[in-house]
Symmetry: none
DNA sequence: GGAATATTCCCCACTTTTCCCCACTTTGTA
DNA sequence: TACAAAGTGGGGAAAAGTGGGGAATATTCC
């Protein structure tokens, strides 16, 4: 099965809906067709996981010890942003208010395929993110990937 | 049988009632439809467990050694706050006075889905809680979840 | 013990949001 | 160039959230 890749600049309508690029829809596994869980990204963007991928993550959280204060905090601050959504007949999803707010998304959004997830960015926020990163694509690749 | 997730800022009316978000109601297992047990959270909030989940917890407490002073104290301080509630025809529950007091809940409340339970927070208390936590979300996630 | 008062619960009514469906425009392709 | 698929927008029915009246039940006080 394919992983998500590519980018697209799509509109977010007044109802908070955004289309998922057809190419990314096609990369979905049969188990996950039409259902995603969106949640807060580590960066100021929205992460979108296909159902099966998300269930894998959730079962990891479930296995943690809930009597550990740090675990409760982690689970709380991750799950509170999570929202399960389904594609409508036009291949769109509705973004939740809290996440649109967090990612400062308004009329348009950048959709980026990132391996096992899809990321949704406000175009300006993404530019700012790029500017704040050390502009050394090659060195980063070398340090992360080894030689 | 999904787990609870998401957040909502709902009103608490003069009668102490608060609606449970439809999405969370839908995440209930058939055995637990409509019945919850609310109790005091470890944090300054109210924990809300679906019936089946609560019964599981109760049997855990029952299996502890009651001749251990600490066990008796734990069980006592958890159960004294517990209260079984049922959804009314509009999908709401009534919060108990002692718990509203404990969680300093007044006119509005933040409802957070946290895996096997629902948490009810006073909005201000939640902000304060967040501020008091070490803001190392990313590092924590990495250490707890591995990479 | 009984009346006055308070509380709980059930029901109805209103407002807002969500979701389903239809329609149009644009893009890509045969 | 025609056709199909992809992307965009909006109307309207249905559901969700909110507030309050009033009967039934419990509590308090004389």
């Amino acid at each position: 099965m394919g992983s998500f890749k590519g980018q697209a600049d799509y509109s977010v309508d007044k109802k908070g809906r955004i289309a998922i690029p057809a190419k990314m829809r096609l990369a979905l596994r049969p188990e996950a067709v039409g259902t995603f869980t969106m949640t807060r990204g580590f960066e100021p963007c929205i992460y979108l996981y296909p159902l099966d991928e998300w269930l894998r993550k959730e079962s990891q959280y479930a296995s943690l010890n809930q009597y550990d204060r740090r675990v409760r905090h982690l689970v709380r601050t991750i799950l509170m942003w999570a929202d399960e959504v389904t594609l409508d007949a036009q291949g769109r999803i509705g973004l939740s208010k809290p996440l649109m707010d967090y990612a400062t998304i308004t009329a348009r959004a950048l959709i980026i395929g990132a391996m096992d997830r899809i990321e949704i960015w406000d175009p300006d926020a993404f530019q700012k993110y790029l500017k704040d990163q050390p502009d050394d694509h090659e060195a980063l690749a070398e340090s992360v990937m080894g030689s």
